[in-house]
Amino acid sequence: MVESYTFSALMRQVMEFEKILGEISGKMAEKFPGKKTLRELSEDSRKNVESLEKLVRETVVEMTLEPITGIDLAELTEKFGEMNDGTEPEKIIEACNSLSELYAEISSKVKQMSAETSMYLKKINRKRKRMIQQLEREIIGV
């Protein structure tokens, strides 16, 4: 993993996480309890990729395009790897929780480059918190 990121490179990674999350949750929706929430998560992730793509391209403030440091994507990439075969539904909850932590961190770091992107990441977190709680009830029974 690189130590510092350009704004676009970091956000491209976020979009990649959203894309994978969308694909896996879509697949899991066919096999596990929580079908409706998993489908919603899948659809939502797909929309997030589209919205982030647009925001990243169009809202950059050029004077504050500073290298972004202090973000560790290694752990999360590993979690996504574990979830990839789609056989353990609780892994998706773990991944969503980790994503939320990451997005909170990225949101604060990209605020001065693109306030809209920062706000959008917070919005994802707010919405996803409800979905995670729902999935915990439906999948783990918490």
Partner: protein, 490 residues
């Protein structure tokens, strides 16, 4: 990370846009436009003949008489359409900027965003600052009114470093205020403006309202000297800018001339180091140092010196060089081989004059054959050295020690340039003193690139600016004249 695709591999021989038509130039003088990362030719740029420039001016003059009669609300609709077109083709033009200039794609996108802000600001100006004034009953039965009128044809001469943005500091304002234009973009980086003009063609402006020519010194001179041109805007180096301003004065033309720079960034002992370093890096090495607001001299005050120097060099050495269409790339090439050679010359000069080269960016390891220079840092630089005084316009930072803020301010105010100066501090009182005492047009406080947004004028003083009015919002004064009407009705 994979490369984003180029819009096109090459663009052929460029045409002029005159009287609403794309026309071939008859000029025999043709120069290449390059992809500076790959060192390959991507277009042929014909340099207009004097007759071709005269023809474009004549067409713009004829169009002015009709354009000024079109109601403001109708002129505005063209600008709204242009904004929508620019949004629609945002990514495409950003990639062309990167392909022809070399800057990383995020910086190209940032340039496009600012360009669109200028269109938006021009629209708002038309509705507000352009309105004029009226005072009833200045004497018994007499009223006085100020109306603004567009002046006529203007020439816009663009720079290579912000090839579409800098001309757009002026273009939308001139159009919305009722003037007509002949635009000559940089001959080195004309491709993004060529694409922007295809969008201008799409919105269906009346023929002749805005015209595009290509060329070098002769074309620019004709734009200034021609009696049918009311004024000219120029963004570029100080030596050329001085000539433009002199000629404009000689021929009685209005002029906005934004010129070169040598910007100082001051770091106080109370600066927040972790936040300051990324801002310094972007300032010195963003756009590969080819920007009039780029940091050039880093003045560090007091016992924070070693810490700042080490962290600055460490961060600079980690920047990834490459083709800007790779989103992982932090820094692209400089714009041309001659620019690279000139910058190498300055690095050699710095060594000769006794500065210590602590990060040498010459001959970096890059996967592309283009004009790459990595971040370069000198220390033990003194204000009288060439590298501390002259504009290098490349990724070269000179670190200078100072005892206190007064000494740093003295260095800034002794410079021939006055474009920008920035300070990093946690003290409001220090920042206030800096703001008040520094003789520069753009001041940054805890920010490394003090780039005014479209709804403020773009400042500049001393040898960095010639004229009275600046770009962006000042355009309402530049492109119009006031007419005073005193009326009495019996």
């Amino acid at each position: 990370m994979a490369l984003l695709p180029e819009v096109r591999e090459s663009y052929g021989r460029l045409k002029f846009y005159v009287d609403g038509e794309w026309i071939d130039s008859e000029s025999g003088e043709v120069h290449p436009a390059m992809n500076p990362a790959k060192d390959v030719e991507i277009a042929e740029v014909p340099y207009s003949t004097r007759e071709e420039v005269k023809n474009a001016i004549s067409v713009a003059k004829e169009a002015f008489e009709e354009w000024r009669e079109i109601p403001l609300t109708a002129r505005l609709r063209y600008l709204f359409d242009l904004k929508n077109k620019l949004e629609e083709h945002f990514e495409e033009i950003s990639r062309i900027i990167t392909q022809n200039h070399g800057k990383p794609i995020d910086e190209a996108r940032g340039e496009m965003r600012r360009l669109i802000e200028n269109v938006e600001t021009a629209i708002s100006i038309a509705y507000t600052l352009n309105k004029g004034e009226h005072l009833d009953q200045i004497a018994t039965g007499i009223d006085e009114t100020l109306v603004r009128e567009p002046l006529g044809v203007f020439g816009i001469i663009g720079p290579f470093n912000f090839p579409v943005l800098a001309p757009f500091w002026f273009i939308p304002h001139a159009l919305v205020l009722g003037c007509t234009l002949v635009v000559k973009p940089s001959e080195i980086t004309p491709l993004s403006m060529d694409r922007a003009f295809k969008l201008i063609d799409d919105i269906g402006l009346p023929p002749g309202v805005i015209n595009l020519i290509h060329g070098g010194k002769d074309s620019g001179e004709e734009l200034i000297k021609n009696p049918d041109v009311k004024g000219v805007t120029f963004v570029g180096s100080t030596p050329v800018g001085r000539t433009v301003y002199r000629l404009a004065g000689e021929y009685g033309k209005r002029a906005i001339v934004q010129a070169g720079a040598k910007n100082f960034l001051i770091v106080m002992p109370d600066a927040d180091v972790d936040r300051t370093i990324p801002a310094l890096i972007t300032s010195f090495f963003g756009n590969t140092g080819q920007r009039c607001l780029a940091g050039a001299n880093l003045v560090v005050i007091g016992d924070i010196y070693e810490k700042i120097r080490d962290k600055f060099v460490d961060s600079a050495s980690k920047l990834r060089l490459g083709y800007g269409l790779d989103e992982d790339v932090d820094m692209g090439p400089v714009v041309s081989r001659s620019a690279m050679n000139r910058i190498h010359g300055y690095i050699e000069k710095g060594v000769e004059e006794g500065a210590r080269l602590i990060l040498d960016g010459r001959n970096p390891d890059v996967d592309y054959p283009g004009y790459f220079i990595g971040p370069t840092v000198f220390e033990d630089v003194t204000p009288d050295m060439t590298i501390a005084k002259e504009e290098i316009f490349g990724p070269v930072a000179s670190i200078i020690r100072a005892e206190n803020l007064d000494e740093a301010i003295e260095m800034i105010n002794s410079s021939q340039y006055g474009n920008s100066a920035c300070i990093f501090t946690s003290s409001g009182a220090t920042a206030r003193k800096f703001r008040r005492e520094v003789d520069c047009g753009n001041i940054g406080i805890n920010i490394g690139i003090a780039a005014p947004m479209a709804f403020f004028p773009f400042g500049g003083r001393k040898e960095s600016f010639f004229g009275v009015l600046h770009g962006q919002i000042d355009c309402v004064e530049f492109f119009t004249d006031k007419k005073i009407v005193i009326s009495r009705w019996w």
